[in-house]
């Protein structure tokens, strides 16, 4: 176990370096700069502004300065909002995305896992077709349609939840639901497939021969094996959820991380792009590792082989 963690972290270092390098040069080669604006500023002022951020130096030198700062944990100030450090912006936005992501994740699990289990247990009955059709609709409905629909129904018509903002716990409901339903639809499908496979295993027959009830078979015997593929999906999904969603954040006016991902690219906010990308990459790497550990916990066989 410790070896696994150690080697994965060791692999993470070159991975992060490649990501940082590629992103650095990609952003620099994209047309337009951070200081382009419609009311074009005079050339000499632009040069001075670039000098403020060290953009007047040769590109390679900038790159090494960036790497040097990065090694010291300094992501630099945002080009778009120079009063703020990139790390500061991420630090304020991430808790919001984390909360939203976690709630959506819980909702997705609450919907997806029982839904998929029931569908698998009652395969080819209406208890299978109904959740499966709903999940298909969930996959079809993009969040930018589902979000306004939920707002229309639960906020405008029934006035149960606030339509936007991120101030009180009741604000959390609609965005979490919108994201959660979408992911829940995916999880339902994965759970059903995984459980169907698990229910065909020989050891399920053993459990039946012992006199175990359907419920016991489902929860005690089939669940661990059946949920393994779901767990594999959950890692990247959770990383995606807690790193924010631009669409959800725009629809519900939430100060999360997703907005930075998109606007930083549009603003050519070089440091912010790099900061968010590296942050996301480290989330992915960490969560993939967590998934592997979780799988090892769920699957005793893989514990030994590593």
């Amino acid at each position: 176990m410790k070896r696994l963690i150690f080697f994965r972290l060791l692999q993470a270092i070159p991975t992060m370096w490649v990501i940082a390098t590629l992103t650095f040069f990609m952003t620099r080669f994209a047309p337009g700069g951070p200081f382009d604006a419609e009311k074009a500023i005079p050339e000499e002022i632009k040069i001075k502004m670039e000098a403020h951020f060290g953009l007047d130096r040769p590109l390679l030198e900038q790159y090494f300065i960036y790497l040097h700062n990065l090694l010291q944990g300094d992501l630099g100030p945002s080009f778009k909002y120079p009063e703020w450090e990139v790390s500061e912006l991420i630090a304020t936005a991430f808790p919001v995305s984390l909360t939203l992501g976690t709630f959506s994740f819980i909702i997705a699990l609450i919907i997806g896992i029982p839904g998929g289990m029931i569908a698998a247990l009652r395969q080819n009955t209406w208890m299978d077709y109904l959740p499966m059709s709903l999940s298909m609709i969930g996959v079809c409905l993009p969040t930018f349609v589902l979000g306004p629909l939920l707002i229309f129904a639960l906020s405008n018509q029934l006035a149960i939840f606030p339509p936007l903002g991120w101030y009180r716990p009741s604000d959390w409901v609609l965005p979490s639901l919108t994201l959660g339903l979408f992911y829940g639809a995916y999880i339902t499908r994965l759970t059903r497939a995984g459980m169907l496979e698990a229910l065909q295993q020989d050891f399920i027959r053993t459990a039946r021969a012992k006199g175990a009830s359907s419920w016991r078979i489902l929860t005690q015997h089939a669940a661990r094996g059946g949920l393994l593929p779901v767990v594999t999906f959950l890692g990247p999904a959770f990383a995606g959820l807690i790193s924010g969603s631009f669409v959800i954040e725009s629809i519900f006016f939430i100060p999360g991380l997703g907005k930075f991902f998109v606007t930083a690219a549009f603003n050519r906010d070089y440091t912010m792009v790099l900061g968010t990308v590296l942050f996301y990459a480290s989330l992915i790497i960490t969560l993939n590792l967590v998934v592997d550990l979780l799988q090892a916990w769920l699957d005793p066989k893989s514990r030994q082989s590593r």
Binding site: R3, Q201, D202, F203, R205, T206, A207, R208, A209, K210, G211, A212, S213, S214, R216, Q220, H221, R224, G225, L298, D299, P300, K301, Q304, S305, R306
Partner: protein
């Protein structure tokens, strides 16, 4: 060892009575009769052996008792299964749940796939007590520990939280027995419980099962394809063939006076240790079924002159090591081996002894750590295209599981023609097709099988296809890796006969790997015994059996069920 029949202690109590049971399988291809109106009675305390080849309906009968048949496709068409005054076939799920595991328990064939890999052994063994609310979880675990010790799973003391994969096959099957008997059921259904085990382990497991059931006065329905094995245990034997009961008698009578030709065939077609035969009798010799045609007859049955032959294949100081987290494991330890052209070299040993690794290393399917391999006085080396088209052409392998070793998505024609295309055997597609058809005929199949997929064949037929595939490249040397181990005796006989006849016709050289000494002896000119990666004994087949030099070899011989050791009926 004479068997004293266990007379029913109380014939009125808890006896199981199957009447007119008829089970059909409904699939897209149509309806298949799996069990056709059978009648069977098990008295309390009695051990019944249910024997038949795969597909004979023995397992289906066994599973229907507890309503464990997969439905669909299985459907019970008619019949009754009386148990304690109720008809088990008419009970709802709740009632069945109370009976399963408490009054009637069941053990399955493959202890690996039948134990839940995600739950510690101890918990699984304790589970029936918890399910049937016999005691609380803590006490149940305590009882489970005692039960495991009783069946000889000492490891549970050091590893109370061990998972199934941490146990060997034999230990897992012992755990299954403990799990089935922990509730002290009245009837135990054992569905091929030792088929997947090595002979040595099989003997131990069997004796544990016997002793424990006697102690608990549990009746057993023992299902197996191996008549010899059943003879060790059963008071009475029921033989099934194609869904019907063809013969039913006490064990002794079955062996001495088999009435039905199928039963006669079953008894005859086992390769035994004390008689050397050129060809094994098969079921077809007794019943003409028309399912399989007779292979091309032998050219000559003269034994090969062995002494003046050159070594076809030779291994020198072969070492194979695997790196694992626990460190380096040496699977093959300085093994030297040579096989003369046209001969069969048998390799016996328990699972884990390194015999499979050795076979695959000879074919370079596993990379050797050191040592040399020589084929036809030429050192085998290199890799890539040259190696693939050179040495691989002359060396082939037949695997244990004919189903897993055939690509399920390719037809037989595709499977057989492909190697010829790769090795540019045959000038045109038509010529290749002709070759394929003649190959199929050689192994006892026909041109009508060309367009079928592997799953449409029976196990024996599939293994014939594998043999045909190995022959497509016209090799000189074939490794037969446990290639009949998973087969019913009747099918096994057919395949063994086929291999023998091919050897003569094509002057093939075999390395025949098996854990079954009887089979190895039947096939081989020379035998090596392998233990822990080393060859502990080599000699002619007859010598090894008559005069084993090591204790390990003796142990191997002793583990074979008495009925299988000798061709003469046991008395």
């Amino acid at each position: 060892m004479p068997l004293t029949p266990n007379l029913p202690k109380n014939p009125r109590m808890n006896h199981l009575n199957i009447q007119n049971l008829k089970v059909n399988f409904h699939s897209r291809e149509g309806i298949v009769q799996a069990v056709d109106k059978i009648n069977l009675t098990i008295h309390a305390g009695e051990v019944i052996g249910l024997v038949g080849e795969s597909g004979s309906g023995k397992s289906v009968t066994c599973s229907s008792i507890l309503q464990l048949l997969p439905s669909p496709p299985a459907r019970i068409e008619s019949g009754k299964i009386q148990w304690s005054g109720i008809d088990l076939l008419r009970q709802n799920d709740q009632t069945m749940q109370r009976i399963r595991g408490k009054e009637i328990s069941m053990i399955f064939q493959d202890p690996m796939s039948c134990l839940n890999p995600y739950i510690p052994i101890l918990d699984q063994v304790a589970e029936p007590l918890v399910i049937h609310q016999i005691c609380d979880t803590k006490l149940a675990k305590e009882k489970a520990r005692e039960m495991l010790l009783e069946v000889g799973v000492q490891r549970i003391l050091d590893h109370p939280n061990a998972y199934p994969h941490e146990f060997s096959g034999g230990m897992r099957q012992r755990a299954m027995i403990a799990m089935a008997l922990i509730t002290e059921p009245s009837l135990l259904l054992a569905d091929e419980p030792t088929t997947a085990l090595d002979v040595t382990v099989q003997a131990k497991v069997l004796s544990i099962l016997k002793n424990l059931c006697e102690k608990l006065s549990t009746s057993i329905l023992f299902v197996s394809h191996d008549l010899g094995l059943v003879a060790e245990l059963a008071d009475r034997v029921v033989v099934m063939y194609r869904g019907k009961v063809v013969e039913q008698n006490d064990t002794h009578s079955i062996f001495t006076h088999p009435k039905h030709p199928y039963v006669q065939a079953l008894i005859a077609c086992r390769p035994t240790l004390d008689v050397s035969e050129e060809r094994l009798p098969t079921v077809e010799d007794f019943i003409h079924s028309g399912e399989t045609r007779t292979p091309v007859p032998l050219k000559s049955s003269e034994p090969n002159p062995t002494s003046d032959q050159k070594n076809l294949i030779e291994a020198r100081d072969l070492i194979v090591e695997f790196k694992t987290d626990q460190g380096v494991i040496r699977a093959v330890d300085k093994v030297s081996l040579s096989i003369k052209s046209g001969q069969t070299h048998g390799l016996v040993g328990e699972s884990g002894s390194g015999k499979t690794t050795l076979g695959r290393t000879l074919l370079n399917l596993i990379n050797k750590t050191s040592g040399e391999i020589w084929l036809n006085q030429e050192k085998v080396s290199g890799s890539g295209r040259k190696y693939n088209l050179g040495f691989r052409k002359s060396m082939q392998i037949i695997f244990q599981d004919p189903y897993a070793s055939l690509n399920p998505r390719l037809t037989i024609e595709q499977t057989l023609i492909e190697p010829m295309i790769v090795h540019q055997i045959g000038k045109s597609q038509n010529e290749r097709l002709d070759r394929v058809i003649s190959l199929l005929e050689e192994v006892g199949l026909g041109a009508e099988h060309l367009t079928r997929y592997p799953h449409q064949f029976s196990g024996g037929q599939r293994q014939r296809i594998c043999v045909a595939r190995a022959l497509t490249t016209e090799p000189q040397f074939i490794v037969c890796d446990e290639c009949v181990s998973a087969m019913d005796v009747s099918v096994q006989a057919q395949v063994l006969n086929l291999l023998k006849s091919l050897q003569v016709n094509r002057n093939l050289t075999y390395l025949f790997i098996s854990h079954d000494l009887g089979v190895v002896k039947f096939m081989s000119d020379e035998i090596s015994v392998m233990q822990n990666g080393c060859i502990v004994e080599t000699g002619s087949a007859e010598d090894i059996y008559q005069n084993p030099q090591t204790g390990y070899t003796k142990q191997l011989i002793d583990s074979i069920p008495a009925a299988n050791r000798s061709a003469s009926p046991i008395v």
